[in-house]
């Protein structure tokens, strides 16, 4: 098969994801409203008008809004990654997955295309969020909006891969609530998205270590540094490593036949 075929399959998957995105405007809005609520309501209640202590990559005192903005970007990617990957459960039930897998392309390529498609759509939402956050006073350097792009793509792939891996293990659509409780919330709260890790360490050492071992922490830090035109090598290595690991696991454990066969027909 020539690269043209690969490209064709890729654009096909992206287009389908894009059309779905267009049709589900409410999902776009909710993906945007969620972080904005955090930015406006949560950060306002936090009352850190006197400034958050200086930690890299920041070179001066910042407002709490500025601190949580990168974490909220990652929150968009987290929800999208999980939701889109879990929608494969839906695809599986509706049979559209079978149509996709009938393509002669290697399954891994189709899954990677799917991950990329999810990432691209998420980026639109992240930049929409950053634009609104700018109005709310979160003003990273303009060039940072470009340097953050590769970091966002990588983080989107990581979270998509984790979602895909989970979706291979989840049987039914209803289990999304469980994923929310046991995956999304712990990942988000036990990270550096809302509080700097030194603050976590002040309250409890073991909480700090949980945050430190959470890949989402490193994803947030990668985005945070990139937004300020800096490269956090440690965060990059961990995010890259985890992305590769979860993508491999997802591809290996993705077995549409198994679920199709064991799933009772739903009416």
């Amino acid at each position: 098969m020539s690269p043209i075929h690969y490209l064709h399959a890729f654009t096909g998957v992206v287009k389908r994801e894009f059309w779905r995105f267009i049709q589900q405007r409410s999902r776009f809005l909710s993906a945007l409203v969620r972080p904005l609520l955090w930015l406006v309501v949560f950060a306002a209640g936090f009352r850190a008008a006197l400034g958050v202590a200086i930690i890299p990559p920041y070179e001066t005192y910042i407002t709490y809004e500025t601190y949580i903005a990168p974490g909220l970007c990652c929150m968009i990617l987290l929800f999208n990654g999980m939701q889109s990957s879990l929608s494969m459960v839906y695809d599986r039930e509706m049979g559209s997955m079978k149509v996709l897998l009938m393509s002669p392309m290697p399954r891994s390529w189709l899954l990677i295309s799917k991950l990329m498609a999810i990432a691209l759509i998420s980026l639109l939402q992240v930049y929409a969020f950053l634009a609104i956050a700018w109005i709310a006073g979160v003003e990273p350097p303009l060039l940072g909006l470009i340097t953050v792009l590769p970091a966002l793509v990588l983080v989107a792939l990581l979270l998509g891969a984790i979602g895909l891996f989970l979706s291979a293990r989840i049987r039914q659509l209803e289990n999304f609530a469980g994923v929310m409780n046991f995956v999304i919330f712990p990942m988000f709260f036990l990270s550096s998205a809302l509080y700097p890790l030194w603050k976590m360490r002040e309250s409890s050492e073991w909480l700090y270590w949980i945050c430190q071992y959470n890949p989402f922490t490193h994803a947030v830090e990668l985005v945070r540094f990139a937004l300020y035109q800096q490269l956090n090598l440690e965060a990059l290595a961990i995010t890259l490593g985890c992305t590769t690991l979860f993508a491999l696991l997802a591809i290996l454990s993705f077995n549409p036949e198994r679920s199709a066969r064991t799933m009772p027909a739903r009416g």
Partner: protein, 323 residues
Amino acid sequence: MKYPKLIPTLLVSALVAAGNAQAATAYISNEKDDTLSVLDLDSWTVTDTIDVGERPRGIALSKDGSKLYICASDSDTVQVMDLATRKIVANLPSGADPEQFSLHPDNRKLYISNEDDALVTVVDTQTHEVVAQIEVGVEPEGMAVSPDGRWAVNTSETTNMLHWIDTQTHELVDNTLVDQRPRHVEFRKDGKLLWASAEIGGTVSVVDVESRQIIKKLNFEIKGIHPDKIQPVGIKLTDDGKYAFVALGPANHVAVVDAKTYEVLDYLLVGRRVWHMEFTPDRKHLLTTNGISGDVSVIDVDDLKVIRSIKVGRYPWGVVTTP
């Protein structure tokens, strides 16, 4: 290196560092460390720390920029530092507990506030002799000499007045009552207006020099910060008359005021308990001393943004810059 900057940034800063052996410099007095921090204004790094007398607070440059005068409050003297050698070359008889001072445009007479004695001491920096001592209100603090050299204005923190001293006769000529605890006075470049901050009153008064009457009183309000924390201290005016910057102490913000309409344009977040400020020689940046956080914040004057904060000693108080 754990957090390497992007390569272009590195290259540019390396080139700048290599090309500027004689870079612009800021000197910052660290009240609690009894030192001066020397800050390179190209690389934004502290390149040296110099031991000086006890509790250095107000600092000022001689008009030619060769000497630095340092109020060593607890040593009860004003020290003179030769900036070429960075050595103390003389101790001036300043009177007890000198805090702030101002150099007359003649480059000779130094007007010094003696906080504990309710006096302003005038010292000749060439003969090292006390020329005059003028009684003022309780706890004198702020000090400024008008650009034409006619007036020396002192603020007394407890009497809440601006004291107008005629520099010809060294007589106290007039007083202007302002709000509680006036800390600092700053003349506009043309000498027609005087800005005075009141720390407890939370206001800045703009005084017409001719009539010595207040023509405008500014108030400050920052969302999310209790009004008691808004304590104006340092004031700096841009040469073009566009902006006035007011340091708001424990509010951790510097107010940007339109110097023509007296409208507060913005509040910039800096370090903790900001007191005094100085422009860099190119007037593109404004440095602020943040006492409690022990650092200096750098404000971009054109963009009105804080671009960085740099650790110096403990309780940085005063700041001057030289080309």
